[in-house]
Each structure stands twice: as structure tokens, then as C-alpha cells.
């Protein structure tokens, strides 16, 4: 071992290199931090003049709702009217609502699938299969959101609108069929059960799912003619007054859910894998089934990690632009039906910023929207990291006991 105080030139050059590397890395880290701060400062500087008291100044309440032509308070996003000096009707409410709606639908789609995949992958899958599943899901994450938005807005949306019965058929039939499969699996003869084991379910379930989807699509015209006089869409419109838009919140939710699933899956699976194996083993040695082990022993420990995974997914869903731009119809509505369009903060910025005069009120409003997005994502990610740090601390303390 070399003496730390030695003046060996080789040692000194190593020290110098080490110091240089540390310096560069620290500089890089500080640089990133400064950039983020600079962005925040820039946004704030551009947005603050919006609220300057004066003829052009807006109040926070005006950003929420303003009296419309009927005299009542309305929530309408009509920024172009600002340029013309007409009564300002630039309510951010429909945009905030749209952003939230899209994110919620995305999470409704993504959370069950991602958490289910994570639970299955860490509890049931063989290590070989699991090793192959992770790269596949990473491929999913690598898919550009433009492509997803394109498929959702130009292919899936119009298809669903025209073939509403088929879409509903798939959505309803699939869970029912899966439950039936699960119940029936136990009744299969044992050698068949062992061949179609739950551990390799990822392999043999895939063709089953495809067949089910095909069956659902084929059966749809049948039950559509039985119960809905041949046209589900007509029926829905007449019965409930709902009009199915080709680009709506549900399609956005589907596409964005698809985009968000890999992120949530990776973090949730990490959280579940971090649960010490001997705890799961202990539970199973006591006769707990894998499901009971998951829900009673593993989930309580992994919960903070899973929660943080969901929050990071939510942050991504809120900021996603291209998918919403192409698949939502960009209608600034404030309805709750998933069959209507929506408009999010991010897509508004993308559409309108290129044409907004820099320095104008519209421009500043859009930067205010950007600031809102920035703050929200920042908050979400920070919260997620804090929760995970606390979890790691808790575990370190408890492991030291044994």
C-alpha cells in the first residue's frame, strides 16, 4: 500500500487525474442544476409582468373565469381575443382540466397494467423470462411519442369511432375472459397445469389474448344486432346523448398509458425486488399463496417505492405533448365524459407559441402555462425522490438490527 504522504510522482499524477475528474463531474452536475434554475428564472421573469397592475394587467381570478357573451362566468380559452383588445377571456381552467383529465385516464390505463406486470414479473416469472421481459418493455419506452400520437389520433381514434361495438367488445370481453381463464386454470389436469404454468404465463397467454381479441371483434356485430338494433353508436347517442368523438380523452388515455407503463413498471419492479427475499420466503413457508405473500407482506414494504413510481408516471403523463396534440382533438372543453375531446397545457403551448407575438399577453400566458407544468413536474419528482429516500433509510435501519 502506498504511503499517503509519499511524493511518488506516479501517485501524484493519479491524484491529479482523480481531482480533475471529480472537478469535471461536479461542474457538470452544477451546470445541470444551474440550467434548471435558469429555466425557472426565465419563466418567472416572463410571467410576472402579466400580473403588473395596469391596463394590461390580469388578475388571478381572470385567469380562472371571465364573463362571457351571456354575462355569466365562463371558462373559455380564447387567447386571440386578447390581441384584439376585446374582453379578455383567457381562462386557464379548461387547459388545467384537460391536462388533469388526460393524466388521470392515462394512469387509469397504466397503473393496473404496470403494477400487475411488475407483481407478476417479480413473483411468478422465471429469472430467464424476466431478463427477457425488461428489454422488451424498454423497447416500449423507446417508442417516440409522436408515433404513439400518430397511431392514436389517426388510426385508432377513427377506427374506434367507426367500430364502437368492436372496441367495447374487446374492452369488456378481455377482463371477463381473463378471469374465467384464471378460475379454469385450477381445474385443468395437473400435467396440463404444469405445462401451462403461471411462471411462463407471459408466453402462452399471448396467443390466448390475441385469439380473444379476434373473437371479441368477430362477435361484436352479432351482439350489436341482438341488443342494439345493429348500431351501438346510434343507440348510445339516442339513449344518453353522448356523441363519440374520434379523438377523445379515452384514446389519449390509452396512448399515454402505453407511453407511461414502462416507466412505472421499471420502478415498481425494482421496489418489489428490493423486498428481502427471506421475507417472501418466510411467508410462503407459512403456507401463504403467492398472492397472499404479495398483498400481505411484500406490498406494505414496497409501497413507498410503488407510490413514487406512480408519481413519476403522473409527472410524465402531465407533461406529454405530442400524444395529446394529435389524439385529443384540442377542444378546450370542460366535460367529464371520456368520449369528448380535451386540451392540455402542453399541447396548447405547442400549437400556439409559434404564432404568439413575443412579449405579448398571449405569449406570457403560454409561458405561465409552461411554468405551471414545470412546477408540477418538479414537485412530483421531488416528492417521489423524497419518498424513496425515506424508504431506503427505513430499510437500512431495520437491516442493521439483525
Amino acid at each position: 500500500m502506498s504511503d499517503p504522504t509519499s511524493t511518488n510522482p506516479l501517485y501524484r499524477s493519479r491524484q491529479r487525474r482523480d481531482r480533475l475528474a471529480t472537478l469535471l463531474i461536479t461542474a457538470g452536475g452544477i451546470g445541470v442544476l444551474l440550467t434548471v434554475i435558469a429555466i425557472a428564472v426565465f419563466l418567472l421573469v416572463e410571467v410576472v409582468p402579466l400580473f403588473w397592475p395596469g391596463a394590461d394587467g390580469m388578475s388571478l381570478s381572470a385567469l380562472w373565469s371571465a364573463p362571457g357573451t351571456s354575462g355569466e362566468a365562463e371558462f373559455r380559452w380564447l387567447p386571440h381575443r386578447l390581441e384584439e383588445g376585446v374582453v379578455a377571456q383567457a381562462s386557464l381552467a379548461p387547459l388545467l382540466w384537460g391536462t388533469l383529465e388526460a393524466a388521470i385516464w392515462a394512469l387509469i390505463v397504466a397503473i393496473p397494467l404496470a403494477l400487475g406486470a411488475a407483481a407478476h414479473s417479480s413473483l411468478y416469472m422465471t429469472p430467464g423470462l424476466r431478463a427477457r421481459m425488461k428489454p422488451t418493455l424498454e423497447l416500449m419506452e423507446a417508442m417516440p411519442s409522436v408515433v404513439l400520437g400518430f397511431i392514436a389520433g389517426l388510426v385508432l381514434g377513427p377506427w374506434v369511432e367507426r367500430h364502437l361495438a368492436e372496441a367495447v367488445s374487446v374492452v369488456l370481453l378481455l377482463p371477463l375472459a381473463m378471469i374465467t381463464l384464471a378460475l379454469g386454470h385450477r381445474r385443468l389436469p395437473v400435467p396440463v397445469q404444469r405445462y401451462l404454468s403461471l411462471n411462463s404465463a407471459a408466453l402462452w397467454l399471448l396467443p390466448c389474448l390475441l385469439l380473444l381479441v379476434l373473437a371479441a371483434v368477430q362477435l361484436a356485430p352479432l351482439w350489436e344486432s341482438w341488443w342494439f338494433a345493429g348500431d351501438l353508436r346510434e343507440w348510445v347517442e339516442q339513449r344518453w346523448g353522448l356523441d363519440v368523438q374520434a379523438r377523445n380523452a379515452m384514446i389519449v388515455g390509452l396512448a399515454m398509458g402505453f407511453a407511461v407503463i414502462p416507466g412505472i413498471y421499471a420502478l415498481a419492479e425494482d421496489a418489489l425486488s428490493d423486498v428481502p427475499r427471506n421475507l417472501a420466503e418466510g411467508a410462503q413457508a407459512m403456507g401463504a399463496t403467492r398472492w397472499q405473500t404479495l398483498t400481505r407482506v411484500m406490498l406494505p414494504i414496497a409501497l413507498p417505492g410503488i407510490f413514487s413510481a406512480i408519481m413519476i408516471g403522473a409527472g410524465r403523463a402531465v407533461g406529454e405533448t405530442m400524444i395529446v396534440l394529435m389524439a385529443s382533438g384540442n377542444s378546450a372543453l370542460m366535460t367529464a365524459t371520456p368520449l369528448d375531446g380535451l386540451r392540455s397545457l402542453a399541447s396548447s403551448i405547442a400549437i400556439e407559441l409559434p404564432e404568439a407575438a413575443p412579449g405579448g399577453t398571449h405569449y406570457r400566458l403560454l409561458l405561465l402555462a409552461a411554468l405551471a407544468l414545470f412546477l408540477f413536474t418538479f414537485l412530483m419528482n421531488t416528492l417521489a425522490e423524497l419518498v424513496r429516500a425515506r424508504l431506503r433509510q427505513r430499510f437500512r435501519r431495520s437491516r442493521g438490527d439483525t
Partner: protein, 323 residues
Amino acid sequence: MSSVSHFAATSRRIVMLLWLGWVAWLPLPATAHDVAGALNAVGSDTMAELMLRWGEQFEEQRPGVRLQLQVAGSASAPPALIAGTTLLGPMSRPMQDDEKAAFAARHGYAVTPVVVGKDALVVVVNRHNPLERLNRQQLDAIFSDTLACGAEESIDHWQQLGLDDPQGSIHLYGRNAVSGTHGLFRRRALCDGEFKVSVTVSAGSAAVVAAVGDDPRGIGYVGLNHLNADVREVAIADGQRDVRPERQALRDGDYPLVRDLLIYVNRPPETPLPEVERAFLDMVLSPSGQRVVKELGFVALSPSALMAQRRALGLPALAREER
């Protein structure tokens, strides 16, 4: 693994916000002629292809002169003209008063508008839709909820127009709020009213056409140069006549939904234009330039309008054979 994906997500967000910042600072002051032999223009995306074709044509005439076109929307032209970044600002809508005032304040003289062509807005429906015409009130009632053109009630379903097929509610397709197309339609067709909230907003006319072509219940408005085989145009019934958006009607100014395509020029009074810009505008306002206008689906200027524009710019009149 998880921290890698977290890092990737954060850096993606940082990149997006950096891009945002860059776009916002876009029209930074710069000299109008960065390189000798460069022609700058900043403005409308509706006219983007037009400007590019003209640029190509111009380069054939003047090898070595490249057109540097920045397309960020009509709203980006006034700031660029004011700052002196460019001498040419194509816009698909007229400058607003405050934009003109800002220019005058900065340069001490008014900006020069040059009409280089016309664009028409066409109301389109899906090709399976038998609808032939709409009058002004119907058009307003379909697209707006303010009914400023005098209709009595809003039209939400195709049945209200007496059609059996398509059935059901009308699906509206339109442009985003700051595009010139949107503005023109709102002012003329909606009589300065406001669109219904349920309009599906697209970022470009091509997307509107695609959407209407895909949706049997759809109706939308697009620039004339974006029509394709999946959609049909609807005539506007003005008074007694049906006016189809055809060349004659457009030229003669009968069709109500027409707008000028302009290039705003920074030209001090009594001063001739710089050589390159002058030659460019000379070409634009010539038969060959107007041919490009027609090819791209816009409407060329009538000979008299062409003459008037040339005169206003101090360009020599065209030879008799050229007209």
C-alpha cells in the same frame, strides 16, 4: 436501472424546456444581410411553400442568392421587420394596428404591404356527404355558438340541414386560434363571433382535411390549396347565387371567404429597395411568379391588381406580351 430512467425522463424534460426557451427567444436582433447574396424572409407558414418555390425560381435567375426563410407563423413577421432582422415579411393576414404602430415608432415610416396572391378558405365535407350549399347564417350556426350572423338557433345535427345521411351530430374541424385561417374564418364566416368549444383543433390545414376525409360526419374549413379527393367543397350561398370557390369567383372578389397573401416590406419612402429584394419582388409580381401561385393552389392576382402593385413598389410595368 430505475435511476437511469429517472435521469432520462428529467433530461428529456429539460431538453423540451430548453427548446421552448430557444423558440421564445427566436427573433433575436441580427443584421438583415448576414452574408452577401442572402435573401431573408420571416413569417407565415401558410405561405411557406410559396416562398420556397419563389426562392428556387429566384436562385435560377440569380445563382448564388439563397432564400433564408424562417417560418414561425404570421405573428413572427412584424417583430422581425421591426427589429431589422429581415426586410421581407410574408403574412397570410393583414398587420394589426398595434403591429403597424410599433413599426412606425421604430423606423419612423409606415411598413409597405405588397399583395402577392390570394388565398381562399373552403368549407369542406366528407366526400360521402351530399351537402351542396350553405348560406351565411347556416354556416355561422354550424360553427359558432354566438350566432352573430343572424341565425336563430345553433345547428348541431345533420338532420337540421335536412340530410338523412350522414346521421347524427355534426363534427367540427378547424385550426388553432392564432392561425390566419382561423382568424379569417372567424371574422368573415362567424361575423366576428366565436367558435363552439367542441371544435377539434388541428395544427395544420392538411390535418383538417385528413380528419374530415376520415369522418363521414365531419365539416371543416381549410385553405384552398389543401383540398384532396376525400373531401368535397361546399358552395356558400350569398343572396340568390351559390358561390363556389372557383377561380373566377375568387378573382372577382365574389367569394366571401378570401384573404390576401401579403409580403410586408421595410422600405423607407422615396428610397429604392435594395437590389436583391427588388429583383425578388419583381419576379414575384410577374407572370412566372404568379404561375407558381396558381400551381400551389392559391389564386393569382388579376392583371389590374398586379399592375397596381408593381406601380406602388416602383417596379417597371410589364411588357405587353408578359401580361
